[in-house]
């Protein structure tokens, strides 16, 4: 499975136009096809290695959730990207497909406040449980008060 095959497969399956940069296939998807696309990347493109998942805050334009999965045998990289509207920061969880997405999604929830539907244990992973706000969001004020030291 080389990048060209991956592009044609993704195009006919999801109706999107992937952009190829070397061995990297960039796919921008609507949020409702997120899990479906990851499942296709795993089963049909052979991307069995889940590299990472994170998010980008675009202020009023919403929030991008990014995920990089790889086929290590063929050197194929699929870069999934979806745009969530600010009003509804919900995204399908990839944990049923990639178990490695568990902590990544918890971190994404911790730092950006993206709620992953279908995640088995969505709670904060890095910050204390009583933390208020999501610090990597652009609208997070640095002087947001935190819980007392003890």
């Amino acid at each position: 499975m080389n990048p060209t095959d991956a592009v044609s497969l993704l195009r006919e399956k999801f109706g999107v136009e992937p952009v190829v940069e070397g061995a990297i296939v960039n796919v921008t998807l609507p949020p409702d096809r997120w899990r479906e696309a990851a499942a296709a990347a795993k089963s049909e493109l052979g991307c069995r290695y889940f590299n990472w998942l994170s998010a980008v805050d675009w202020k009023t334009d919403g929030l991008d959730v990014l995920c990089r999965v790889e086929n290590l045998d063929r050197g194929l990289v699929v870069f999934l990207r979806t745009r969530l509207p600010l009003a509804d920061l919900r995204c399908a969880s990839l944990v049923p497909i990639y178990r490695g997405a568990d902590w990544m999604e918890r971190e994404c929830f911790d730092m950006f406040g993206v709620v992953f539907d279908g995640h088995p244990d969505l709670r904060r992973i890095l910050l204390p449980n009583d933390w208020e706000g999501h610090p990597l969001r652009k609208d997070y004020a640095i002087d947001t008060p935190h819980a007392p030291y003890r």
Partner: protein, 211 residues
Amino acid sequence: MEVKGPVPQVPAPVWGDIKDLQEWEKYHQIRPEGDQSSNTLAALADAIHHMPGGWILVTSTEKIFNWARSSSIWPVTFGLACCAIEMMATFASRFDVERFGMVPWASPRHSDLMIVSGTVTIKMAPMLKRIYDQMPDPKWVVSMGSCANSGGPFRHGYHVVKGVDRVVPVDVYVPGCPPTPDSLMYGLLRLQDQVAEFQKSGRKPPPAPED
């Protein structure tokens, strides 16, 4: 002379949902009446001091006590970040602070000194405070490195305490990022000078609340 105990300033514990820890906190919080035994000793020393010729006994005893205190400061083994590597180097044989009587001790209950070596995050601050509270009086704190002094390069981040003196009272600040073992050793020697001038009770007012 009246020796006042520390003012308890215990905000609500952050371990909201852990009942055992809450009970632990409640049991181990600072007693408002202070340490009775040292109050009695201080009153006794004061009485002797006011007897004719008694001051000779008291001052020389204090000097002996302070000599003993300053030449056997045991720092608690407590490293937070990269500064801890330099702290370990200071404890190790090349720089060897053990010749000043400083033995890194693996229990806060036997220690006199806490070297805050590294970045204190807001999540770590309660644990640091707890270790400090577990140390017996008199106790001292050395803030080592930029992060512990002021937050350092992470000062403008969201998760770092902007100076460990907002959590525990600090006696010596050692600058550097990280400070070399020489710097830390200099700071420890200055701390020894400070301990040699120590009087009666090591209690200091609690740190000012964060503005």
